[in-house]
Amino acid sequence: MKLTRRAFIGTTAAASLSAPLVNAGGHGRPKVVVIGGGAGGATAARYIAKDSKGEIDVTLVEPSREYYTCFFSNLYLGGFRSMDSIGHSYGTLAAEYGINVVHDWAVGIDRGAKTVTLAGGSTMNYDRLILSPGIDFIDGSVPGWDVSSQNAMPHAYKAGSQTELLKRQIESMPQGGVYAMVAPPNPYRCPPGPYERVSMVAHLLKEINPTAKILIADPKPKFSKQGLFEEGWQKHYGGMIERIGPDFGGDNVSVDAGAMTVTIDGSVEKVDVCNVIPAMKAGRICEIAGITEGNWAPVSAHTMQSRIDENIHVLGDASAQGDMPKSGFSANSQAKVAAMAVRGALTGSKVFPAKFSNTCWSLVDTDDGIKVGATYKATDEKIAKVDGFVSKTGEDAALRKATYEESIGWYAGITSDMFG
């Protein structure tokens, strides 16, 4: 019998189906390992798998089986979304895109051998590695707070149980009690996030505890969409919210989780809920990989490749890329550029010039949405802003409602772009 090439391939395929363990890893397809299944990692994994049409073996490492998006978790606090509605699983990525989804922590990276070690003990090879681990907190950035106090003083800046805990604490506040937020210094995940959160907490308190107060200790002189938020706070929650900026000691804050006190510039405040959002750095795996400079991992704007190791791409919050804010939208946008670059490098597919975009919507109160956005291009130095917009103060109610409705559409869009 004459064995044609086609028949030969067919036979091999059949054999590998019947004996997957024997052939696993041994069939010569280029391997991409993605660490982190959020807006950056899930999108990158999906686009590489989808567009390489099986030519690239994609593994996604993500500890959570159910992923709760940080974006829209403030809306859960405000009562506008259920926790279920911001939870997503990885079933479609595994079943429809053929991605090997591994629920484990990556704990080691050997850049010389190009391997990733998991907490469970196994080791995986990669040709390209994509790190999209999000953020971790800087120890000691808020004196008196560490991860062991996160139950007494939740950060709720990684969505899920922390968010539920914070909401429960707010609901349990005594009438006329105080919710305090220790806001983070720049740069941090989701620039409008703390202020949207304040809006959502105020919305909830206005319904259940209208004499309660909100106190923000903020190390930054100004913040994202400040004029819009302050206009909204005045309009919807007059007198409830007080913000102490660095001019009044908002940059000199410590906490005592046992006594439930916040000390601002030497003055001790007893509070009922204390939401501490510490200073942030790249997810720890970037440090372990040895690709950080300072707190973040510097990357090339053209491909999102690490400046330190060209076999590694870093996406989203963890990267130091230039002008883009650390947002889910940004990570999703960067993921598409990285996915294209990775496919180009591994399979020779066409690579188009990188372009990026971002928009951040925030909800101030019912049907009162605001937004800020920009487009970006890649330069040799950084991701550079091209054009942008921001909502205006004094917009009419119909436009604000339309902006909120647009954000709902965006949420549905980006989560289906991430999870399939």
């Binding site: 686009y47 939208f329 999703n332 946008s333 598409k336 294209m340 066409k350 188009f352 372009k355 975009s357 928009t359 937004k371 956005g373 920009a374 487009t375 091209v386 054009d387 942008g388 917009f389 909502s391 339309a402 902006t403 909120y404 409705e405 647009e406 954000s407 709902i408 559409g409 965006w410 949420y411 549905a412 869009g413 980006i414 289906s416 772009d417």
Partner: protein, 229 residues
């Protein structure tokens, strides 16, 4: 002798003439014979294979009660398609080219005068309010034939489209204030994007996204999204 109907037609035609329709409704009535197998119009008209056509000219697309539209038309309707003279004329010229996925199996009316006459005839069954509310004959912006005739590169469009898919779902599903954009007739997509680019349409996100695109890129996106279902 004039029947009541044709008198009403004359009056309405007077209104419609102000929006610059060139057709003759009486000649249009003859053209309509080609449509009759599937469409009824006039008093008591009911849906047949196609929807009944009272009040279609100048009205929002996809609003006839009890009619199940194709996905393609429903998506366009969601996106705000108005059956004004320009849109109807484009559609009637070659329905499947204008709207891939339409259920209407009709090869089209090649002659512009036939289309004008037919639309003028159908306009006699539209309410005066509907006609008055319809946008004038002209589109919101003017595009050159050179811009409109760019043959978009589908592969390039697919790449560019990844930017759109952060908000617009590739499945054609839509939620909240973000419309579905799959299956749109190319020409509608091109006009919409240029209208954002020229800041004639108000949404700042779309103005920004379209503002970063050249004519070739808009054509590429139009070609890509038209081919999706």
């Amino acid at each position: 002798m004039k029947t009541l109907l044709s008198m009403a037609a004359t009056i309405l035609f007077g209104v419609y003439a102000s929006t610059a329709v060139a057709g003759d409704p009486e000649k249009g009535a003859k053209v309509f014979k080609k449509c009759k197998a599937c469409h009824a119009v006039g008093d008591g008209a009911k849906n047949k294979v196609g929807p009944q056509l009272n009040n279609i000219v100048g009205n929002a697309a996809g609003v006839v009660e009890g009619y199940k539209y194709s996905k393609a038309l429903a998506a366009q309707a969601d996106a705000g398609l108005i059956w004004d003279e320009a849109a109807l004329s484009e559609f009637l010229k070659k329905p499947k080219a204008y709207m891939p996925g339409t259920k209407m199996s009709f090869s089209g009316l090649k002659k512009e005068t036939d289309r004008d006459n037919l639309i003028a005839y159908l306009a006699t069954f539209s309410d005066a309010d509907t006609l008055a509310a319809a946008p004038a004959d002209e589109r919101e912006i003017t595009l050159s034939d050179a811009t409109l005739s760019i043959e978009g590169d589908v592969a390039y469009g697919e790449y560019l489209a990844s930017d759109c898919q952060t908000c617009h779902q590739v499945s054609g599903a839509s939620e909240g204030g973000v419309p579905a954009i799959v299956g749109w007739p190319r020409v509608e997509f091109v006009y919409a994007m240029h209208a954002y680019k020229q800041k004639v349409r108000p949404n700042p996100v779309m103005q920004m996204m379209a503002g970063g695109l050249g004519d070739e890129e808009i054509a590429a996106l139009a070609a890509y999204f038209e081919g999706l279902e």
